[in-house]
């Protein structure tokens, strides 16, 4: 029963939460700055993705306690993302192909 149950998850010091919390604000500020300074092109995209994944990673690892979970759970949660990665990759290719065909046949002509 509930009262007989042993504590399953170890508690953590409050400091770590506050640290991550602060880091999230800083990272959000940085990604906002990407827009503020109006970086363009590859630099913009890579910075956006970098900050995005860093923030997501921090939230998952510490706020959602994935860092302290056993590998069985972590792996079960992360491997399916390869399917999404594949989907994303192929849709990038597909999007490029579509816009290419549209511009080529609808605007340039001379096919």
């Amino acid at each position: 029963m509930a009262e007989a149950k042993k504590e399953q998850t170890t508690t953590h010091k409050i400091g770590i939460y506050l640290w991550i919390w602060g880091l999230l604000f800083v990272l959000s500020f940085f990604s906002y700055m990407v827009d503020w300074y109006n970086f363009q092109g590859l630099l913009r995209w890579s910075l956006i993705l970098f900050f995005m994944f860093l923030k997501a990673g921090l939230i998952m690892a510490f706020f959602m306690h994935l860092f302290w979970e056993r590998y069985a759970l972590v792996n079960v949660l992360l491997w399916p993302m390869t399917a999404i990665a594949c989907f994303v990759g192929l849709m990038v290719a597909e999007g490029k192909y579509t816009v290419f065909s549209r511009l080529f046949y609808f605007f340039v002509g001379g096919a």
Binding site: K96, S101, R102, F106, F107, G109, G110, A111
Partner: protein, 295 residues
């Protein structure tokens, strides 16, 4: 006993049906005999596996039918056998896949001397557009389709001026000359399919798709729509005539060109506004296009 015999009959029946079937593909009329070859290859390999597996099953039914008191063999695994079967299957799969990929590679690479033909699909019928003397089709856009401009051609595109309109469901093609079919749809998905040519591809509104083939047999062929496109899908038929140069040219001369069509309709005011919008866009996007011109 009875069970085994009936299953045996099913397998033998399948083989017999396959050998003596009166239902088989139509005579091929294009260069894609390689597709037929890959099908036959799949038949040999796949059919062989089917027969072997089923015969083995029937053998087991006969040989190991239930007998009171008999024990089955206790052998949970046989690593060697399993490994052997894995390799055998892998080899079979590679043998099937490799030729398929080679044929597909040919299918998506259009030869340089191919004639462009635009197939314009609509609910429910076909229209065609051929390039004129310059061998090029003008830019088109469904947005600007109107009575005066049934193909939605950009009037500022010089390539489009001499384009030939075929406003019937009958298309003529030159024998032994590759054609690149450019598929265009103004409403929903369609699919330009002539069984004798083996090849097909969907026409998708909002983009242009293509495939190519080389008709190599004179004759008249029926065009079927092979992608469900609404209630009259089954009635969306057309005709392709493959013929020699002489009669082809005669047919070509009878068709109308874009300029002659516009001349006829000169009195009608064209919708200028839409063209302006389209042209502005095209200059903006030229740079993107260059970047992505991977061909």
């Amino acid at each position: 006993m009875f069970t085994g015999l009936l299953f045996l009959a099913v397998i033998i029946g399948s083989i017999v049906f396959h050998i003596w079937t009166p239902w088989w593909w139509t005579d091929i009329a294009s260069n894609w005999s390689a597709m037929d070859d890959t099908i036959i290859l799949s038949f040999w390999i796949g059919g062989g596996v089917f027969i072997l597996v089923c015969l083995f099953m029937v053998y087991c039914i006969f040989r190991y039918q239930y007998k009171e008191g008999r024990r089955s063999e206790y052998k949970p695994e046989d690593k060697k056998l399993e490994k052997g079967l894995t390799w055998l299957t892998t080899i079979g799969v590679v043998a099937l896949l490799a030729p398929g990929l080679v044929v597909w590679n040919n299918y998506i690479r259009v030869p340089d001397n191919a004639i462009q033909v635009e197939v314009m699909a609509w609910q429910w019928g076909w229209k065609y557009r051929l390039p004129g003397q310059d061998g090029k089709l003008g830019a088109s856009n469904n947005r600007i389709i109107s009575d005066d401009n049934p193909y939605g051609l950009n009037i500022d595109d010089p390539n489009g001026k001499d384009d030939v309109f075929v406003e019937s469901n009958e298309l003529h093609l030159l024998k032994d000359r590759p054609v690149k079919i450019l598929l265009r749809s103004i409403d929903v998905l369609h699919n330009f399919y002539v069984p004798q040519f083996r090849s097909k591809m969907d026409a998708v509104p909002g983009t242009i798709t293509y495939y190519w083939f080389e008709p190599n047999k004179n004759g008249e062929y029926e065009v079927l729509c092979a992608e469900y496109c609404g209630v009259a899908h089954y009635a969306m038929r057309g005709k392709v005539v493959v013929e020699d140069e002489e009669s082809y040219n005669k047919w070509l001369l009878e068709q109308e060109t874009f300029s002659s069509f516009t001349a006829k309709n000169r009195n009608n005011k064209l919708n200028k506004k839409k063209f302006v919008k389209i042209n502005n866009l095209s200059s903006n996007k030229n740079s993107i296009l260059k970047e992505q011109d991977v061909r």
